[in-house]
Symmetry: C2
Subunit: 504 residues, 2 copies
Amino acid sequence: MTRPPAYRQLENLFARLSHLDQATGFLQWDMAAVMPEGGAISRGEQLATLKSLSHELLTAASTKALLDAAAGEELDPWQRANLEEMRRDWLHAAAVPTALVESLSKACSACEMTWRKARPQSDFALVAEPLHKVLELTREVAAIKSQALGVSPYDALLDQYEPGGRSAEIETLFADLKDFLPGFLSQVLVKQQAAPSLPAGPFPLPSQRALGLAMMQTLGFDFTHGRLDESLHPFCGGTPDDVRITTRYDEHNFLPSLFGVIHETGHALYEQGLPPAWRHQPVGRARGMSLHESQSLLMEMQACRSAAFFRYLAPRLAAEFGGAGWDAEAIYAATTRVKPDFIRVDADEVTYPAHVILRFTLEKALIAGEIGVRDIPSEWNRGMRDLLGITPPDDRSGCLQDIHWFDGAFGYFPTYSLGAMTAAQLFDAAMRDLPDLAGDISEGRFAGLLSWLRDKVHAHASRLSAADLLRQATGRKLDAGIFKEHLARRYLGDAGNELRRRVS
Amino acid sequence: MTRPPAYRQLENLFARLSHLDQATGFLQWDMAAVMPEGGAISRGEQLATLKSLSHELLTAASTKALLDAAAGEELDPWQRANLEEMRRDWLHAAAVPTALVESLSKACSACEMTWRKARPQSDFALVAEPLHKVLELTREVAAIKSQALGVSPYDALLDQYEPGGRSAEIETLFADLKDFLPGFLSQVLVKQQAAPSLPAGPFPLPSQRALGLAMMQTLGFDFTHGRLDESLHPFCGGTPDDVRITTRYDEHNFLPSLFGVIHETGHALYEQGLPPAWRHQPVGRARGMSLHESQSLLMEMQACRSAAFFRYLAPRLAAEFGGAGWDAEAIYAATTRVKPDFIRVDADEVTYPAHVILRFTLEKALIAGEIGVRDIPSEWNRGMRDLLGITPPDDRSGCLQDIHWFDGAFGYFPTYSLGAMTAAQLFDAAMRDLPDLAGDISEGRFAGLLSWLRDKVHAHASRLSAADLLRQATGRKLDAGIFKEHLARRYLGDAGNELRRRVS
């Protein structure tokens, strides 16, 4: 395909921006995985310079003229979609005055640092003023982007993480879940029996690492294009050509690391599956956070937290860790326990959406100005009581637990549960398209599933909206129904044959 | 100290350039130490974009005006020196048309790739044409920079690695060595006895790594500001706040890795000792390659390849590797063997200068146009015969062995031997200033030596020329005399008491 002149200039500009962004990504990976602490100040300066150069390039006077000129050029569908993503990037960057961007960035740094002190002391008052400042500046940004994008202020923030996402649709989905969850949770808690215990540790870290690497291999991770390392907070970073996932090991419990690696591998497979032809262009990127989270949760929660997978895993655990009692049913029971608790990141699959709904509700109200920072602790505790029937004993276990707001990330939280629902819907469609999938998984064969995901999700990059992609892959728009069915089957049904029954 | 307006703007510009340069440094470290091979193409693009952005910033139309304006401002001595380094950077970058820079860069990449094929096949003809192209473009660059800097074309290339270096002075130093070496080498070979054998391996890699880390600690490496990793070609990278050194392990021989780590630690200590107040400014950088090499060779060849150090090392080798026979005298004998050979990087301290003199002589003639690429193999072999009395059996062991020319690095080679001479002269001065140094080294106490180096070398960064710095530190200008005395003492004298006798 030819590239008309204005569009071609834009491709060159966005390729440079991509290189800068990738450099930033590796410096951030390095900071989390290998950098000695004494490198922190200089690293902050390196990152700030890369980001400001990137911002200067993107918002140069010539960019808007090129975007307008390219809009009138003859483009193929991928080029057209690429141009749309370019315009989105430009709108987000150019809409906000540089001084405001810098004020918000400084306010976030200051607030995050205060939060790091306030959380262990459970002292919300300490961080209230810095958070107020972050919120006010974020509301200013939201108002400006709302004008530029023609959506509500909250949706303008959401759009940064979930392009095209709209809170009205999320509200409908979450209302459905909110109706369903309390009753369902009661049923699960009544039915749930004490889990059989698994063999005790310690589980040596080299064995845990070997197991993680083996599972990455099993799922289809390409080690010529990525690595596994350690960091305090596990993440998936790097670039599609060189995906860096990290984990954290606990000698006394191998499960968090194992499922963490599987989760991050799901993210990594998405990145590794993006189309090389569009490598350094906006349309070549993954399509938003909810779809990204769907790829990690599909592996972690749908494919691998299953009796089928544990039949494959059990003998491998026995080989790696030694000892007896590695029984697939026992592992399944141990890894599908439900218990309402205060901390989101430790939550099980059933109660997790409640945590997200609470944050979504509160952050919408904060951005709309319906509540203020000082209302957060009481509103938080009320929400936890309403949604899960428990009240945090202190703010450390309540509204101080997540870094997001204190670091300025408003509009991100809903993508976790959108991801969970999307994962259920995609996996359900894959089960229909791949009649042998349950059997394959019980024998560690993931090639069919990966190929399906490549075809239905990864290869499309940002060519389609998340909504269109899901409709095309599954035949229906996103709804909570399949996720609810999944929960019902797993937590109230005959767990041992969970996957089999779905394809019979 | 106040910063006048034009100078201040330049400081801001050069701070950004430093951040970009540091980002580049970490991406290069990553490429060598951890990157999976599939990341190579994108990494090349990331690096190219960072470099071209850096070049664009430095050569922007406003830079020359600022340099000229700042020259008329009132500056303190450090600021004045900083301005001089800024001008040097700008001259090197702005003198050469962008198209020529790009042609040379492409020619170097192509030539290096061909060299990687030609070397194992020992096929110089294969790489002659690409090298010819590199040479012609390099001569063009040299001619342009010669005009801009007001020095000879060869010295304009030398200046890139050795600011202020002049080939006339190097010729005098090398002539001295060239007169001395053949006769000296004969004497050494006659006197040299068969070395007692050391305990046999294998030496497990984790033990070698532990030993390397322990020696870094002993020499004074600050692990909050750096790390040790592995790479195919050992190097010292990163930044002063976060120095990344690498090594390579051989299970059957621990000596190359041990001395490699000590060598790179010498480089690293220089970086870690640079003045934080000038962290992101040109004057805050290390002062050229010969002084850098002097810091690595001072540790590797002067301080640690000594009977004193081996008295400290021997019991630690016994503890790490087990077994008997770890005797300081035997280690000394094993690590001070002299043998003329074809490969520079494997050469001992006595024959190494011959390798460098050969390359220096040939590259000067190549840049002057006195010989051409096709003359290289015969001239090389003639030089080896004249200097070391041996003739390479093939070009793989001859003119194809080093990457430098094939990658466009003309003007770099002399800094190796300038570094060796500088190291000898600095260590000699340190021995005079620190009467307990030999005893300290034999007990693993390096704090006094490091403090001396911090004070005499590291703290000055690029405030002084290498020549002025050496004169100030040692009371005399660089000459070959102390290096020759060092060789005579080590290879013809009473080796066991080498360090003691110098301070008695």
